[in-house]
């Protein structure tokens, strides 16, 4: 627990005020652009509010379901359970992590509190990373919605194989190259036996009522921890949608490489929930290359503005950067390779 005191006073200060700085930045951009474009500031604020609340209203229930699951894990799952259930072989464990979404069907808003809680229960860090990246796609709900939109098509197959490949590969990179204490923020590290002594490693099983109360308490803390990031991310996504014209991006849709990058940027900016992004992707069929659409469906659920900000609550900043760059590059390669070598 002592590691959190190592950050310098300056970075601590920046961290404390980051939200305010971001909010002021957004407000400044909002004002400048609306005035320079001759748009009525009142209308612009109204559009921003509609987009912000739309994303928030759609995402908040998923976050709430996520924190309830996370609270239940906190109250009823012991580190011993995790130790018993996770395969001992790291590679096998990572592969299992990619399919953990069938046990916890959560989208990208709900997965972050769940994975954070699993970390404190001793889930190996790299398994959690794989779960975090895979779960928003590899779960029954998204399987169904993608099938409804695309049928049993190359897009459907490509999305699921691609997501499994990227999430396992990133998990293995973390397994080989990083130590948990360098990756995770102290809040997500498992409390060690004999550490600060606030939480014993093995807890006695609780009665059901006590457990439910504890679950609610934990869900409450988790909600306030995570919803800050959701609010900031939603504000950023809404600001991007309000101020960056999409037709600028769409004009770039045909090149085998540039189309993939454009769709990745779009996925990042739009921050659409993974349960419905297939329907949005349908709108791009025909104007965009197939590889870029598959990449959109692989990369979007892993990384977008709001999930990136929620990652900050679990991982150290440098790790968040890796968590963005690795899936970005891997899904880029998949998309470009499909465009150049497979005629879909």
């Amino acid at each position: 627990m002592q590691t959190s005191t190592t950050s310098s006073p300056l970075t601590q200060l920046v961290r404390d005020w980051l939200w305010i700085i971001l909010a002021l930045l957004i407000a400044g951009v909002l004002l400048a652009i609306s005035i320079s474009a001759g748009r009525d500031p009142g209308t612009v604020i109204s559009i921003f509010a509609t987009r912000f609340l739309g994303i928030f209203i759609e995402a908040a229930p998923f976050l709430l379901l996520g924190v309830m699951v996370s609270g239940m894990i906190d109250a009823f799952v012991t580190p011993d359970d995790i130790a018993r259930l996770v395969p001992k072989n790291p590679v096998l464990a990572t592969i299992a992590g990619a399919f953990l979404g069938f046990a916890f069907p959560v989208c990208e808003c709900g997965v972050v509190p769940v994975v954070r809680k699993l970390f404190t229960k001793g889930l190996p860090m790299w398994v959690g990373v794989t779960f975090l990246l895979a779960a928003p796609v590899i779960n029954p709900i998204v399987l169904a919605s993608t099938f409804v939109a695309f049928g049993f098509s190359p897009v459907f197959i490509g999305r699921f194989l691609g997501t499994i490949a990227v999430s396992i590969a990133v998990g293995l990179v973390f397994a080989l190259g990083a130590r948990p204490q360098d990756v995770l923020r102290p809040v997500a590290l498992m409390p060690l036996r004999g550490g600060d002594g606030t939480v014993p490693l093995t807890m006695p099983r609780r009665t059901l009522m006590m457990g439910l109360r504890e679950a609610l308490r934990s869900a409450n803390r988790e909600f306030f921890d995570m919803s800050r990031y959701l609010v900031i991310g939603t504000a950023l996504a809404a600001a991007m949608q309000t101020f960056v014209p999409q037709d600028v991006l769409v004009a770039l849709g045909r090149g085998p490489v540039i189309s993939v990058v454009v769709m990745q940027v779009l996925a990042f900016v739009l921050s659409v929930c993974s349960t419905v992004d297939s329907f949005l992707a349908l709108a791009f069929v025909g104007t965009f290359t197939s590889g870029s659409i598959i990449t959109f469906l692989i990369f979007g659920p892993m990384i977008d503005i709001k999930s990136m900000l929620m990652f900050v609550g679990v991982f150290k900043r440098k790790t968040v950067l890796y968590l963005i760059v690795l899936p970005f590059l891997m899904s880029l390669i998949i998309g470009v390779w499909l465009n150049l070598n497979v005629a879909i």
Partner: protein, 256 residues
């Protein structure tokens, strides 16, 4: 500035109570806000009605968390011991709590409005999404909306087959500077999930009195199609027989 040492995890009582009440107000406030958005029908300004059950879930969980928070705070008050923050959570600052109140502030202070002509930003499409949902084609074409018509055009081999077909559609007036004087588009936003994926679609309408209809006015257009050129493309254009100003429909967006 909050440095997380073990000692700091034991917070002063007063601050703890103040924060607990602030959290309770935010949670109950969010439950009430979601309930109000549902009850007022404003929910359809934000999300596809297919997902409105999620907002009911949100009301229940927000209320549950809020009530749980009240009980915990009262219980803590009756015992004299300060509560030690468990190791799995962060000490929250006031700033952190206030950020969570932002949706509440935006939701209550800014009047709820759906996306309109102002939010189109030059990417209005006359090309419909080719979704698998084609059941609408078995219904009476006079009940078809803008999206149904665009889908029908999209799946037709020869759009001139629509010449003379009658239509009756509702949408908002959308016009760009380079439109001919007598032309506007009757437009709608399609929303699959929430406004994050909103896309504007529209049918070009020719109507001699067009200049009198202000951008963003909701209108009902009746008339028949005739294929001709619009912005360089050959597509069915609605020659209006009547244009009538209407109130904004209960569901401003179309759900593909």
């Amino acid at each position: 500035m909050q440095v997380t040492t073990n000692f700091d995890l034991i917070q002063p009582r007063v601050r703890q109570d103040g924060q607990a009440w602030a959290k309770t107000i935010i949670l109950i406030g969010l439950a009430a806000y979601f309930a109000w958005v549902i009850a007022s029908g404003n929910l359809s300004n934000y999300i596809n009605e297919r997902f409105s059950w999620l907002s009911y879930v949100a009301v229940v969980i927000f209320a549950l968390l809020g009530i749980g928070n009240v009980i915990e705070t009262l219980r803590r008050r009756s015992s004299e011991l300060p509560v030690i923050q468990p190791a799995g959570s962060e000490v929250l600052t006031w700033r952190g709590i206030l950020v969570v109140a932002v949706p509440l502030v935006l939701g209550t202070l800014i009047p709820s409005r759906p996306l309109g002509a102002e939010s189109v930003s030059g990417n209005l499409s006359t090309n419909a999404v080719a979704t698998s949902n084609m059941t609408a084609f078995t219904t009476d074409p006079l009940t078809w909306n803008v999206l149904d018509w665009l889908r029908a055009f999209h799946s037709a081999e020869d759009v001139t087959s629509f010449n003379g077909r009658e239509a009756d559609v509702v949408g908002f007036v959308y016009r760009e500077a380079d439109f001919p004087e007598d032309t506007f588009m009757v437009a709608r936003f399609t929303v699959s999930c929430c406004v994050a994926d909103a896309g504007a679609i529209g049918l070009p309408v020719v109507w001699p009195d067009a200049p009198n209809y202000v951008q963003d006015t909701w209108v009902r257009v009746t008339g028949s199609f005739e294929v001709s050129e619009f912005r360089g493309d050959k597509l069915p254009i609605l020659k209006a027989a009547a244009v009538e100003v209407v109130t904004q429909p209960d569901h401003p967006y179309l759900y593909p």
